[in-house]
Assembly symmetry: C2
């Protein structure tokens, strides 16, 4: 009897959702499942939910765990990929030194790999979207926060303390707005979804008119990136200006990356870019090119990630394939 | 008869001076020579001066060209190291596509290597000062402008268009002071010697009192980095404040490098750091560590380059040794 074909599961594990995808050996996604994280229930409960999400995705494809060669997980925080421990996750209460790999392997009985979510996103974009062609790539992911991932000479680059790529905490406006990290003027404090929502809420408080309040009320509860796109398309000038500023700051950040790293490709992804690609990318690209030293950006590709929300599960599957026994 | 021992010559070729050093095979400097550049005489005259400077340094050591296995030159601008052509040098009139290697090899009859000056500085610091031990190093050189050099996995990292490391044009203050590059708020526009001198001259125009004018007059002609150190040591508050600001901006820039690259070592060099090491380094290090994300700067060494003014000639000799035939 022939050996059953090998599959890999990628998991995008975030503070609000768990998203799992089953991939075949050529990294085609054949089924997914999605859970809310329910982080308030604590690490053990969340780990059980990750396990169930993986099993649901596999079941969705009419497969069982025996055909799964490995699971790769992107986790939102500092991770020790050797031990598969989540050292610290700023947006998950009680996640300190949680042996995610060990617990989940006991639960599922398949090899688990854990890495930082931005590094996993980058791996997915690099191997699947970019087909591993460029040598040096910088990925910037804009969502609740802003993170990054780096490929140098075709390999993920992690730095001395495995902390490289924290592009969200690059200061681009000394003494600018306060950032969650305690410093001021970080890129994340100017152009993340959190920063944008804050700016919109202040604008509303200052009495500026936006159509967002028509549907969501004065407190703008449940505001999402997609609402911003709809508002701009309906001609909302307040939202348009705030998104324009965020795009300009992002362009400055990309310009800095061009001057510092001079990568072959800069990829922008994350929920904000996915929702506001058309509104933000042209200004990001123009600003970045204007800030690169003359001649240095020639031939460099600055693009929105086409994998969108699937970058995380794709990267997880790539990670699982990289680490699987032959 | 035994083969004469091999020597290497490193040349630090700048807009104002040419400095050549002869090194033995273990990279010990055994003699130097120094010329003014006289850039206004044009490329051919300058290339002849580089040749004479190399010959004077060799003669100083009672050697002749036959014992020289190679010459390595750091040039101030964009260089194609394959052909040894200076593509463009912003501070040298008429230096566009000048085949420095070819012309100087004809002149001297020994193999010549040419590279960008910051990359050459970095190479010298890496191999001689750091003994090639750390894996990832970022060098920042503060002088008339601000440049950088990068070592990743023990090798110089140049990027896609050989333009990586342009840390001087990292924007850290959006809409800040104008930079020579045409943008605003670049690190170089805030903390280079040029930026500092500009700030001091404006302070004098605004009527602020500094002891610098006592010796140099109101126009501060011939102001040098060393004058700033002397003024601060004599209690000059105006100069002290300007240098403190420059150190703080430099610290923010180093913090950005820690968050982005997370190298093992950050080395600061160049004329400004050499002259104002004691005045600037403590605040640079404190600010950088305050800006690194918690835990990420652990064990990372932020230091002033001890090679000082000899980083360029040392790096040139290292470059020559790397490229010499065995």
């Amino acid at each position: 009897m022939p050996e059953p074909s090998r599959h890999y599961v990628g998991v995008d594990f975030g503070a609000t959702k768990i998203y799992a995808g089953v991939f075949n050996a050529s990294m085609k996604c054949i089924g997914t499942a999605r859970f809310s994280t329910k982080a308030q229930r604590g690490p053990d409960a969340v780990i059980r939910r990750i396990g169930r999400c993986v099993q649901d995705a596999i079941d969705e494809c009419d497969l069982d765990l025996k055909t799964v060669a490995g699971v790769g997980i992107g986790a939102p925080g500092a991770v020790d990929p050797q031990s598969g421990t989540v050292i610290f996750a700023p947006n998950l209460p009680d996640w300190r030194d949680i042996p995610l790999k060990e617990k989940l392997e006991k639960d599922l009985g398949v090899p688990i790999q854990v890495e930082n979510d931005c590094n996993v996103n980058m791996l997915g974009v690099y191997e699947v979207e970019l087909q591993s062609k460029p040598k040096h790539v910088f990925g910037i992911f804009l969502g609740t926060g802003i993170g990054g991932g780096i490929i140098i000479n075709g390999q993920p680059y992690a730095g001395f303390n495995r902390a490289a790529g924290e592009v969200g905490h690059m200061v681009i406006l000394v003494d600018g707005p306060e950032c969650g990290c305690g410093n001021k003027g970080c890129f994340e404090a100017l152009a993340s979804r959190t920063a944008i929502f804050k700016q919109i809420k202040s604008a509303v408080k200052e009495g500026k008119k936006t159509i967002l309040t028509d549907r969501l009320g004065k407190d703008l509860a449940d505001l999402r990136s997609g609402d911003l796109r709809k508002a701009i398309r309906k001609g909302d000038k307040v939202v348009e200006k705030i998104i324009e500023d965020a795009a300009r700051y992002t362009g400055v950040a990309v310009g800095n990356i061009l001057n510092l790293f001079n990568p072959e490709v800069v990829v922008l992804g994350g929920g904000l870019i996915e929702a506001l690609d058309d509104e933000m990318m042209p200004l990001i690209i123009k600003t970045a090119r204007d800030h690169a030293l003359p001649g240095t950006a020639k031939g460099i590709d600055i693009r929105a990630c086409t994998l969108g929300d699937d970058a995380g599960i794709t990267g997880g599957a790539v990670l699982a394939r990289r680490c699987a026994k032959p």
